[in-house]
C-alpha cells in the first residue's frame, strides 16, 4: 500500500501573491519530495525583444518583466548595451542609478517582510509595514514620476534630474523609514510569532547553499558571501558605503534579519548618494548600434540577475537572455522544502520572496 499522500500548494493559494504550483509528496506531516511548475505567466519577452522591438526600446520592455525589480531589469539591459556601445556615462547618472536601485530594494524588502508577517498570522504587522512602505513609494514617485514602472534608466544616463526639494523630501522620508525599520528589528528578534516561531524552520546549510548555487538574501542568511554589488564595477557601490550583510543560521528568521539589515544599509547608501551627489550632466549620447556579446550581472532585491545581450550591428538584437533570481533558485527552494512540515510550507515559501513573473518572463 502507498504510504505517501500528494498535496498541492498553488497555483491559487491564499498565501501566494503570484501563481506557482508545488506538488508535495508527504509522509504524515513531512514533505519527502517536491515537484514544481512555474510557467503560468509566461509572456515570451525574450522573443519579443528580438523580433518586435529595436534595441533602444527594449529597456522599457524588459522593465515590464517584473514590477518589483523593474529598475534592475532595465538597468542590467542598459548596462549591457552601454558595454557593447563602448561609452562612459557621467558620474552623476551613476549615482542617481544607485539611488533608485537602493530605493527599489528597500520597498521590495519591505513587501517581503510584510508578507512574511502575514503568513505567520500577524496581520497587524503586515498592515503596518505596508503603510510604512508608502513613504518609500512616495519618494519613488517624486523622483521618477511613477510609483512602480519608473522608466528612469536610459541608454546613456537617466531620464530626470533631481532637484533640491525632492532630495530634501527623500532625506526626510528615509529618516522616518529608518526609525520604523529599527522598530521592526525589535519585533523580528523579540516577538514570539515572528522570531521564535521562525527559528530553525526552513534552514539551509552553508554547504547546501554552495552546492545548489543559492543567491540573494537566501544565500546570505546561510553565510554565503555572494552579493553582486561586491563583484561588479559598473556602478560605484563601494564609494557610497555598501556593506555585505550575512547571518549564519540560514532559517526564516535569519533571512528576515538579513533583509532588515539590508534595508538599513540601503538607506545609508541613499543618504551618502544624496550628500555626495556630483555635479554634471545626467545624459551622454551614445552613438552606434550594439555589436558583439556582453554579460551583465546586477543584484536585484531577490539575488543575482543576469543579462546576456548579443547584437550584430543592426537595430534588432540577436539574443537577449534574462536569468532572473527566482528562476535560478527553484532547485534550492525544492531542496529546502524536503524534510519540513507541510504546514510550514507557506511561511517558508514567503521567506524566499519568490517573484513568479520574473521567473516565467
Amino acid at each position: 500500500m502507498k504510504k505517501t499522500i500528494n498535496i498541492p500548494l498553488g497555483s491559487q493559494h491564499i498565501s501566494l501573491l503570484e501563481p506557482v504550483r508545488f506538488k508535495f509528496e508527504c509522509e504524515n506531516e513531512k514533505i519527502i519530495s517536491v515537484d514544481s511548475d512555474v510557467g503560468f505567466v509566461h509572456r515570451g519577452i525574450e522573443r519579443a525583444c528580438t523580433t518586435k522591438f529595436k534595441f533602444d526600446a527594449i529597456g522599457y520592455v524588459v522593465a515590464r518583466v517584473c514590477g518589483l525589480c523593474a529598475i534592475t531589469h532595465s538597468l542590467s539591459y542598459t548596462a549591457a548595451v552601454e558595454k557593447l556601445l563602448g561609452g562612459e556615462i557621467t558620474k552623476k547618472a551613476k549615482y542617481l542609478r544607485i539611488l533608485l536601485l537602493e530605493l527599489d530594494r528597500i520597498h521590495s524588502h519591505m513587501l517581503c517582510l510584510s508578507h512574511t508577517c502575514e503568513n505567520a498570522g500577524f496581520e497587524a504587522m503586515f498592515m503596518r509595514i505596508m503603510g510604512d512602505r508608502e513613504l518609500v513609494m512616495e519618494i519613488q514617485e517624486l523622483l521618477t514620476g511613477n510609483r512602480v514602472q519608473f522608466d528612469y534608466i536610459n541608454i546613456g544616463g537617466v531620464n530626470r534630474d533631481i532637484n533640491s526639494e525632492v532630495a530634501k523630501k527623500i532625506i526626510e522620508n528615509l529618516y522616518e523609514v529608518k526609525q520604523r525599520v529599527l522598530g521592526y528589528m525589535d519585533e523580528f528578534t523579540n516577538n514570539w510569532s515572528l522570531s521564535l516561531k521562525f527559528k530553525g524552520i526552513g534552514a539551509l546549510s552553508l554547504d547546501d547553499a554552495y552546492m545548489f548555487n543559492a543567491i540573494g538574501p537566501l544565500a546570505r542568511a546561510s553565510g554565503l558571501n555572494i552579493d553582486v554589488r561586491n563583484e561588479i564595477d559598473y556602478l560605484p557601490f563601494n564609494e557610497v558605503g555598501f556593506a555585505m550583510q550575512t547571518q549564519s543560521e540560514g532559517d526564516i528568521n535569519a533571512r528576515n534579519i538579513v533583509r532588515l539589515h539590508e534595508i538599513l544599509n540601503s538607506i545609508l547608501m541613499c543618504e551618502n548618494v544624496l550628500s555626495g551627489l556630483p555635479e554634471g550632466a545626467i545624459f551622454t549620447k551614445l552613438k552606434g548600434k550594439p555589436n558583439g556579446e556582453a554579460i551583465v550581472r546586477f543584484e536585484a532585491p531577490r539575488g543575482e540577475l543576469m543579462y546576456y545581450v548579443k547584437g550584430n550591428g543592426s537595430a534588432m538584437l540577436e539574443r537577449v537572455r534574462i536569468k532572473t533570481p527566482t528562476f535560478a533558485s527553484i532547485p534550492v527552494f525544492s531542496h529546502i522544502f524536503v524534510g519540513e512540515n507541510y504546514a510550514d510550507a507557506p511561511a517558508i515559501l514567503a521567506s524566499f520572496d519568490p517573484c513568479l513573473s520574473c521567473t516565467a518572463k
Partner: protein
C-alpha cells in the same frame, strides 16, 4: 568574459575538471540560434567574490543533437536545462518538455524555426 570552445562529448569532462562548487557558481545555460539550423549552447559560470569573472563554455550543435546533462555536478542546472528544451526544441539528457510552453502554444520560439 572568457569563452572556451568545447564539444558535446568533452563538455562534461571539461566542466568536471574545472568546477569547484566553493569557488564558482553556475549562472545559466544559454542558447543562441545560429544560421543553417545550428545553435550555440553556453554554460555560464561566475566566480564568487571576484571582480566580474565570468567563464562561458560553448559548443556549436545541430538541433537534433542530444546535449549531456550536468545536473549531477551542478544541481541547479536542472531548471535552465528544462527551459532550453522548451525554447529551442533540442533534447537535453533527462529534462522533459513543458516548463513554460503548453501543447497549443508556439513551439521552440527562440530557435529560428519557430512553429
Amino acid at each position: 568574459m572568457k569563452k572556451i570552445k568545447v564539444s558535446l562529448e568533452s563538455v562534461r569532462e571539461e566542466i568536471e575538471s574545472f568546477y569547484d562548487y566553493k569557488k564558482w557558481h553556475f549562472l545559466t545555460l544559454n542558447g543562441l540560434a545560429l544560421a543553417e539550423n545550428r545553435m550555440e549552447v553556453q554554460w555560464i559560470f561566475s566566480k564568487y567574490e571576484a571582480l566580474d569573472e565570468v567563464i562561458v563554455y560553448y559548443a556549436e550543435i545541430e538541433y537534433t543533437d542530444i546535449i549531456p546533462s550536468i545536473v549531477d555536478m551542478v544541481p541547479s542546472a536542472i531548471i535552465s536545462q528544462r527551459e532550453i528544451v522548451d525554447m529551442f526544441g533540442v533534447k537535453v539528457d533527462g529534462s522533459e518538455k513543458g516548463l513554460y510552453l503548453d501543447e497549443d502554444s508556439m513551439q521552440r520560439p527562440l530557435s529560428g524555426c519557430a512553429i
